[in-house]
Subunit: 894 residues, 2 copies
C-alpha cells in the first residue's frame, strides 16, 4: 500500500521530494535529518490532496490510522499528548505545495486546545493569559478558515468587549487573562449564533483543519494564482502537522530571524533580529522593536540586550545551526527560530534575499570558501539585479515611501538609473543649459530622432507616451541615460512650457525650470531633488563575470551605432556588434541637410548627387566602427526607417532644401506632405525602400565595403555583415542580394582586391518566420529583431502600447509580462522556433542571433539558449546582465 | 527499351499524355485519332529533353533510328521525301511543354529546303516566288535560332537589298521572285561572314533544329517564366516534327480561324475569319483584312467572298471538324486551319476565349445539348469574369487604346464598375450636387468614415493613396460603387479645389467640375465622358448559379452593415451575414454627436450617460438587421476601430461636444489631442478598447441581445453571433466572455426568457493563429479576418501599401499577386491552416469561416475549401462570384 503520511525524517533518508511533501514539508524533513532542532511533526503527502479533490473530499483508505500513528510519534518526541487535559500537545496544520504560493492557502495554529486542555496549558505554563490568548487565536482562525464565519464577526465581538472594558482603542496585547477568558466564551457563543460550533473534540479539530487545508487548494484565489504562475492544478498541496512551540513563555523565550551573512554587503557575519517573550508574528507585526542578534551589530548602548549577551549558549547553538544550514544549502540562509524557555527551535530556513552587491560577494566568497562550485555561484545571482550595480540609483520606491516620499506619477522603467534636474521641453534648450553646466531633465510627449542631441545632454528623459521599445527608451538605453517612458498621467504643454500630472481629477503643474527626480529603474517620477546614489563598485564582480564568460555557450554582442558606443561595448565584454543602425548616422549634423535633399529629390539624378555627398561620411563612420571592433563581427543594418523620418521640420529647413534643389519651397512642402503615412511602422520603409529606391542601399553597401577595405589596408581585420531589415519575402532578399553582389563586384574590381563579408536578414515579420526556409537560400545569417516581430505578431505598436498594455499586464494580468520586455514564448517564441528550424533545414551552417531589447533580458536569453541561437545582442549597459544570464541558461540547459 | 518518338496516333490509343508529348503533341495526336485531317508528324518525348539536359546535349541511344523511322512514316503519309530534290517534304520543328509557355521557346518552319530542293518546290508548286519566300524565311529562322546570328544582321541585309531595288520602304510581300532569290543568296553570304554556315544537308538541318528546341527549354527567358509560374525545371519540353502545309499556294489555298460558337454572345453558330492565299501568320499580322467565314456573319455585300461561298465543300468539311472537336473537348473551340489547294488541314485547336456573357450561355447550352455534365459547365466559367455581368462597364483598356483613348493614370481596381461625372473634392459637396441630379466623382487623397455620405452620393470614387482593402475600397465595394484607389500619379489640392496627374515630369491639371471617367474593374482614370455600358442580363445566369449552389460545400455569407445591405445580400444569395461592422452604425447622423461625447467623456459616469443615448439606436439597427436575415446567422463584430476615429473634425463639432460635456472646448481639444496614435492600426482599438473601457462592449452586447429578443417576440428567428475583433490572447477573449455572460444574464433575467447566441472571435493577428487552441476554449467560432491578418503577417499597412506594393507585384514581380486581393498561401495561408488545426483540436465542432475581401476572390476561396472552412463572407456584389468559385472549389477537391 502507498504510504501517505511521513514523520519528519523518520523514513525518507536524504531524499525529501517536494512533489510529495511540498516545499515546507521537504524543508522540515531536511532540517530534522541535519540534526537541527525542529519541532516534531509529520506531513500528509500531496497524493492525499489529489485523492481528496478527485473523490469529493474523501481520504485514501488507511489514512486515519497513518495519521494516528504519526501523531503518536510526535507525542512521544515532545512528551505531551494531543488532547491531554493536564499537559496538552498543541499542533499547527499548514499547507505547502511543490512551489511556494505565499498567502494563497490556509494555516491553523494552536490546535488541541479546548475548554479543558486550555486549563492544563495555563497550569503547566504557569501563564493563564498565554493559554487563553492561544485559545482565542485558535477560535478565530478555526472559525474563519474551517467554519467559514466572516472575519468581521470576530472583530465586532472583540470590539464590543473592548468597549465594555472601557477602552475601545486598547491593543489586543493589553487584554489581560480574565478579558481573554471572556473573549473565548463570547467567540464560542458567536460561532453558535452563526450556526457553526467549535469542536471540543481535538481529533475533530485536527481533521477539520486538514480538510480545510486540502480544500483551500481549490479556493478561487489559489486557482487564479496558479493560472497566472503556470502551476498545474493537479499537483495538489501537502499538509504538515507540527508541534507548536512558543516564544512568548517569558524572558527566556523569544523569536528571531537570522541571516547567515549580511544581506546588504554580503559580509560573512551572522546578522539578524530577536525579540524576547514574543511569537514570530510579533516580530513581523512590529509592535515592539526587535534588537540586533549580535553585540557587533547592536545600536550603541544596546549591546547588553542582544541574544548574544542574554542567552549566550542559545545564541551559540543558533549560530551553529545557521552554519550547518548554509553549508547544506550552499547559500546564505534566512532562518526563523523560536526559543521556548531556553530551548531554540528552527521553524524555517530559506534562501535569504539580498542586494545585488551582497549577491555578487556572497556567491564569489562561497566559491572561495569551497562551499559551492562556480556553476552554483553563477546560478545564485539574479542577472537582472546587476542593474543596481551598473547605474546610479535612487532609494527604492518602498524605501522612499517609508520616508513619506511618494512619486508624482509612474511610467515604464524604460532605461535604468536615476537623475535629478530642471525640466526643459526642448532638445536645443536641454543642450544649451547642459552646456552651462546645469543638470536638466528632458520632458517630451514622445521623442523623435531630432531630439537625440538633447537626450545626450540631459541627465534623464521622461515621456508621456511610448513603451519599453519606443524611441525614447531605445535611445536612452543606448546612451546609458535614465528614462521613464509612457507616463500616462503626464500632460505636456509645449506652448505654455509647462507640464501637468493629472490623476483622478487632481492636477499638479510644473513650469520649465522646476526640479524633478527620475527613477528609471522602477519607472517613477518624483518632485524636487532626491539623493542619487552613484553606481557601486563590487570587487568580486569581475571574477564572477569571468566565470560567466567561461561557462556560457551563447555569444554576446552589443547594439551600437557609434565608434564611441562600440568601444564602450567592447569594454563591457561585447564579442561583436549585433546591430549597428545606420539611420542615426543619417542624422548627424554634417549630413542631415544632404539627407533631406536625398529624400525630397525630384529625380533619380538629383538624388544621386546628394547621396554622393553623404557617402564619404557614411564610409568614414563605418571605417571607425569596423576599426573599433577589429577582429569582431559588425552587423550593419541598412536603412530601416521610412524616408519621411528625415523630413525637415522647420520653415528654415524647408527653405534650405528648396534652395539646394532649386525649386520652390511649396513644391518641396508638397512632396513632403505626400510622404505622410497612416501607419509608418507598416509602411514604405527598410527593404521596401531598398527595393524601390535602390540608390540608397547601393550607396550604403559601397560605403561599407570600401570602409572595410580601408580598415584592412591599415592592418586591421574588419568583419562586416550586411543585414537587410523588414524582409517579408524571399524575393526581396534575392533582389537586394543581386544589388549587393553588383556593388561588391564594382568595389572589388576598382580596388583590385576583395574581402569576405556576410549577407543576411533581420527576421522581424511573421511572414519571414513562416518562409524562413526560402529566406535562408539567400541569407547567410538571421538576426531576430524581436521588437518588431513582437509588434507584428501581437498587432501592437510599441509607440501606442502605453494606452493599454500596462493595464493588461499590471492590473488585469491578461499577460504575464510586457512582451516588449520579456519575449512572449507562446506567440513570438513559436515563430522564432519555427524560423530556426526552417532556416537550419535550408542552410545547415546558418548563423542565428537575436538583436533588440530582448537580448538583454534574462528570461528571453533563456529562450535563446533553448532554441540554440549563436548569440544575443543588447545595449552596452546590459551586457553584464546578458553575460550572466547566458551562463545561467547554459547551466540550465545541461 | 523505352520509346522516345511517337508518330501521330500510330500507337497511343486514346491516351495522349501531356507530360510525355507536351500540350501541342498531345493535341495533334488527339486530333489525328479523331480523324481530323492534321498534317502528319511525330513527337520526340519530354524524356529526350531531360536526357539532353542531363547529359550535356547528348541523345538517348537509338534516337536517330527512331526519328528516321518516324520521318519515313511521315514521308509515306504525305507522299513526298525529305530532301527530295524534285518534290521535297518540308517540316516544322516546334517545342511544346506540358503546360503552355507562350513565346518562351523556339520554332523553326520550312526545314528541308536547300539550294537544290527549293528548285524542286518551285517547279512542283508552279510558284517560284512562293518557294524562295519559304527558303528565305527558313534561312532567317534557322540563322537566328540555331546559328545564333543577331536579328539585326538579317534586317540590315534585307534593308540594303530594298534600297538597291530603289524603294527602302517596300513591303516584304512586294519582293518578287528574283528579289527573293537575291535575298537567299545574300543571307547565306552574311551567315558565312558571321562564321555560321547554313547546312545544305537536310538531316543536319533537322537535328540542328531539334537541338535548338531542346536547348531553348533552358534559355534565361524560359527559366524566369517557369520560376514565376511555378513550373518545374525538370519537366522538359517535347519536340514535334510535322509536315508543312501551305495556305499561300493560290486562290484555292488560305488560312483561317473558326470559333465553334460566337465568343461574344455564346450563340451556337460557326464564327470566324478566313484569308485566301495566305499563311496563318499573315492572318495574325493584319496586313490584309480577313473576311468572315460565313455569309451570315459577313459585312453587307461581302457575302460572296466568304469561304462558305467560295469553297463550300471545304467549308462544310471544316464545320464538321469543328463540331467533332467541340464535342470531343466538351467546350467551345478556337480552331486554326489551313487550306492547301482545296484540302483543309487543322493545325491547332484550343478552348476559345469568350466574354463572360458568352461563357455563361455556352456552359448552360452545352449541358442542355447533353454535351457535358453540370459539373463540367461550372468549371468552364471563370468566376472572376462574372464581374463583367454585374456592373456597368467601360470598354476594356485595350479596346479604348485601339480607338486612341489612353488613360490619364492607373491605380488599383478597388471596386468594379464604371462611372462618369464631374469631379468634387468634398463629401458634402458631392452630396449637394448629386441632390441636384448631377453625376459626380468624389476625389480624395484617401477617404475616411466621414466621407461615407459623399461616397454614397457619388457615381464613383478615386483616391491617391490606399490599397485594395483601404477604407475607400472596402466601403465602395460595400456600396457597389466603382472605385479606383491608390492612384500614385494623382495629387489632390484641396485648398485649390483641383487635382493634378503627374508622371515623368508631365502634369495634367483638372479643376473642380471637370469631367472624368473611371474604370473600377481595371483601375483606370480617363479624361472626359466615355460611354458606359450598363450591366448585362444573361438569361442563363440564374440556372448556372442554381447548379453552383447545389454543388458547393462552402456556405456563402455577405459583409453588410445596414438592413438595406442585408436585404440586397439575401437577394444575391447570401446564407447569412458573416461580418456586420458596428462602427458604421456609430457614424449615423442621429448619433454621432452622442458617440463623440462617449469618446471624449471625462469620467465613466459621463460616458455611461451618452452610451445610454446611443443604445436604443444601436438596438434598432440590430433589430432591423436580424429581422432582414431572419432564420440566418448574423455575425456582429463589436467595435473594432480606435475611438479617435470618431473625434470631431470641425470647430463647431468641438463646441457641441464641449457644451454637451459642460467643459471648455480647450479641455476637449486636449483630450482629443492626447488620443493621437502613431500607428492606429496597431493601437488602442477593438478588444483592447472592449477590455479597458468595458462600458462600450456592454452596451453593444445588450443592444444585440435585446434586439434579438424583440425580433423573436415579433415571430422571427434571430440568430446573432457576437464576434470580438483583434484578439491576440486567450485571456482577452476570456475576459470579454465574462462580460458578455454577465450582460446576457441581466438581459435574460429582465426579459424573463433567454435565447441562444454564439460567441466567437475574428482571427486577424499572427498571435491569434499561433494560440488558436487557447482561443478555442472560449470561442465557438473563428472568422478569419484576412485583411488585417495579411497586414500583420506581412507588416504592410493597407493604407500605405500603394507606395510600393503595386511596383512589387506588377513591375518587379516579387509577389505573384496583391496579397490583399488574393490570399497569400505561403505566409497568411500557413497561419490560417495552423489556426484551423489548433482550433479543431481544442473544440471539435468549432465553426470556421472567413470574412474580408478574400472571401470574394476565387483563388482564395479555393484555399478556404482546401482547409475545410464552413463559409466565406464577401461584399454583396461579389456573392455570385463566390458561389461559383465555391462550387468549383468543391469539384476540384473531389
Amino acid at each position: 500500500m502507498t504510504r501517505h503520511v511521513y514523520l519528519f525524517d523518520a523514513d525518507l533518508g536524504d531524499a525529501h521530494p517536494k512533489h510529495l511533501l511540498g516545499g515546507k514539508g521537504a524543508g522540515l524533513n531536511a532540517m530534522t535529518r541535519l540534526g537541527i532542532p525542529v519541532p516534531p511533526g509529520f506531513t500528509l503527502s500531496t497524493d492525499v490532496c489529489v485523492h481528496f479533490m478527485e473523490k469529493d473530499g474523501a481520504y485514501p483508505e488507511g489514512l486515519e490510522e497513518e495519521v494516528a500513528a504519526a501523531l503518536k510519534g510526535v507525542e512521544e518526541a515532545v512528551g505531551r499528548r494531543f488532547g491531554d487535559a493536564a499537559d496538552p500537545l498543541l499542533v499547527s496544520v499548514r499547507s505547502g505545495a511543490r512551489v511556494s504560493m505565499p498567502g494563497m492557502m490556509d494555516t491553523i495554529l494552536n490546535l488541541g486546545l479546548n475548554d479543558e486542555t486550555v486549563e492544563g496549558l495555563a497550569e503547566k505554563s504557569g501563564d493563564r493569559r498565554f493559554a487563553f490568548d492561544a485559545y482565542r487565536r485558535l477560535l478565530q482562525m478555526y472559525g474563519d478558515v474551517v467554519l467559514d464565519v466572516p472575519h468581521h464577526r470576530f472583530e465586532e465581538t472583540l470590539g464590543r468587549l473592548k468597549k465594555e472594558l472601557g477602552d475601545p482603542s486598547m491593543l489586543d496585547s493589553e487584554l489581560d487573562a480574565p478579558a481573554l477568558e471572556q473573549l473565548v466564551e463570547r467567540y464560542q457563543a458567536m460561532l453558535k449564533e452563526e450556526g457553526a460550533t467549535f469542536p471540543q473534540d481535538v481529533q475533530a479539530q485536527l481533521w477539520g483543519a486538514i480538510a480545510a487545508v486540502f480544500g483551500s487548494w481549490d479556493n478561487p484565489r489559489a486557482i487564479r494564482y496558479r493560472k497566472m504562475q503556470g502551476i498545474a492544478h493537479d499537483w495538489g498541496t501537502a499538509c504538515t502537522v507540527q508541534a507548536m512551540v512558543f516564544g512568548n513563555m517569558g524572558q527566556t523565550s523569544g523569536s528571531g530571524v537570522a541571516f547567515t551573512r549580511n544581506p546588504s554587503t554580503g559580509e560573512k557575519t551572522l546578522y539578524g533580529e530577536y525579540l524576547a517573550n514574543a511569537q514570530g508574528e510579533d516580530v513581523v507585526a512590529g509592535i515592539r522593536t526587535p534588537l540586533a542578534l549580535t553585540a557587533a551589530a547592536a545600536a550603541p548602548g544596546k549591546e547588553e540586550q542582544t541574544l548574544e549577551h542574554q542567552l549566550p549558549e542559545v545564541f551559540a547553538e543558533i549560530a551553529t545551526h545557521c552554519e550547518t544550514l548554509e553549508k547544506h544549502f550552499g547559500d546564505m540562509q534566512d532562518v526563523e527560530f523560536t526559543v521556548e524557555q531556553e530551548r531554540p527551535y528552527v521553524l524555517q530556513t530559506r534562501t535569504g534575499k539580498r542586494t545585488a552587491h551582497a549577491a555578487v560577494r556572497i556567491a564569489v566568497d562561497l566559491v572561495h570558501e569551497g562551499a559551492i562550485e562556480k556553476e552554483q555561484a553563477l546560478l545564485q545571482v539574479d542577472p537582472q539585479s546587476l542593474e543596481q550595480l551598473l547605474h546610479a540609483q535612487l532609494p527604492t520606491p518602498e524605501e522612499l515611501a517609508e520616508k513619506g516620499v511618494e512619486p508624482l506619477a509612474s511610467g515604464l522603467p524604460a532605461s535604468p538609473g536615476a537623475a535629478t534636474g530642471e525640466i526643459v521641453f526642448d532638445a536645443d534648450e536641454a543642450e544649451r543649459l547642459a552646456g552651462e553646466g546645469r543638470d536638466v531633465i528632458l520632458v517630451r510627449r514622445e521623442t523623435s530622432p531630432e531630439d537625440i542631441h538633447g537626450m545626450k545632454a540631459a541627465q534623464g528623459i521622461v515621456t508621456a507616451t511610448g513603451g519599453m521599445t519606443s524611441h525614447a527608451a531605445v535611445v536612452a538605453r543606448g546612451l546609458g541615460k535614465c528614462c521613464v517612458a509612457g507616463v500616462g498621467a503626464l500632460h505636456v504643454d509645449y506652448a505654455g512650457q509647462k507640464l501637468a500630472f493629472r490623476e483622478g481629477g487632481e492636477e499638479k503643474v510644473f513650469e520649465k525650470g522646476a526640479v524633478l527626480s527620475l527613477d528609471g529603474t522602477h519607472g517613477k517620477v518624483y518632485g524636487g531633488a532626491l539623493d542619487v546614489v552613484a553606481a557601486a563598485k563590487v570587487p568580486e564582480f569581475d571574477e564572477l563575470m569571468g566565470w560567466a564568460d567561461a561557462t556560457r555557450r551563447l555569444r554576446v554582442r552589443a547594439n551600437a551605432d557609434t565608434p564611441r558606443g562600440a568601444r564602450k561595448a567592447r569594454s563591457f565584454g561585447a564579442e561583436g556588434i549585433g546591430l549597428c543602425r545606420t539611420e542615426h548616422m543619417f542624422f548627424a549634423d554634417d549630413r542631415l541637410a544632404a539627407v533631406r535633399c536625398v529624400v525630397l529629390a525630384g529625380s533619380e539624378e538629383e538624388r544621386a548627387r546628394f547621396l554622393a555627398e553623404v557617402e564619404p561620411m557614411q564610409r568614414g563612420d563605418f571605417e571607425k566602427m569596423l576599426g573599433a571592433m577589429d577582429g569582431l563581427p559588425v552587423t550593419i543594418r541598412l536603412l530601416d526607417w521610412p524616408l519621411h523620418e528625415f523630413l525637415p521640420r522647420e520653415e528654415a529647413e524647408y527653405q534650405a532644401v528648396a534652395e539646394a534643389l532649386g525649386v520652390g519651397v511649396e513644391r518641396v512642402r508638397q512632396r513632403a506632405e505626400e510622404m505622410h503615412e497612416v501607419n509608418p511602422m507598416l509602411g514604405h520603409r527598410a527593404v521596401r525602400v531598398g527595393v524601390t529606391v535602390p540608390s540608397i542601399y547601393r550607396m550604403q553597401v559601397r560605403a561599407i565595403l570600401e570602409a572595410a577595405l580601408a580598415v584592412r589596408k591599415a592592418g586591421g581585420d574588419p568583419r562586416p555583415e550586411i543585414m537587410i531589415p523588414v524582409v517579408g519575402m524571399a524575393s526581396e532578399l534575392g533582389r537586394v542580394r543581386s544589388l549587393v553582389d553588383e556593388v561588391a563586384t564594382e568595389v572589388f574590381e576598382k580596388a583590385g582586391e576583395s574581402l569576405v563579408f556576410k549577407y543576411g536578414t533581420m527576421i522581424e515579420l511573421p511572414r519571414a518566420c513562416l518562409t524562413a526556409d526560402q529566406l535562408a537560400e539567400h541569407a547567410e545569417f538571421f538576426s531576430f529583431g524581436t521588437n518588431d516581430l513582437t509588434q507584428t505578431t501581437f498587432g501592437i505598436s510599441r509607440d501606442d502600447a502605453g494606452r493599454f498594455l500596462p493595464e493588461y499586464v499590471d492590473e488585469l494580468r491578461l499577460l504575464p509580462a510586457d512582451p516588449f520586455a520579456q519575449l512572449d514564448r507562446e506567440g513570438v517564441g513559436a515563430l522564432v522556433r519555427l524560423a530556426c528550424e526552417k532556416g537550419r533545414a535550408a542552410r545547415e551552417d546558418i548563423s542565428l542571433g537575436l538583436c533588440g531589447e530582448h537580448g538583454g533580458d534574462p528570461s528571453s536569453i533563456g529562450f535563446c539558449e533553448e532554441v540554440g541561437l549563436a548569440y544575443v545582442s543588447c545595449s552596452p549597459p546590459r551586457l553584464p546582465i546578458a553575460r550572466l544570464a547566458a551562463a545561467q541558461a547554459t547551466l540550465r540547459q545541461r
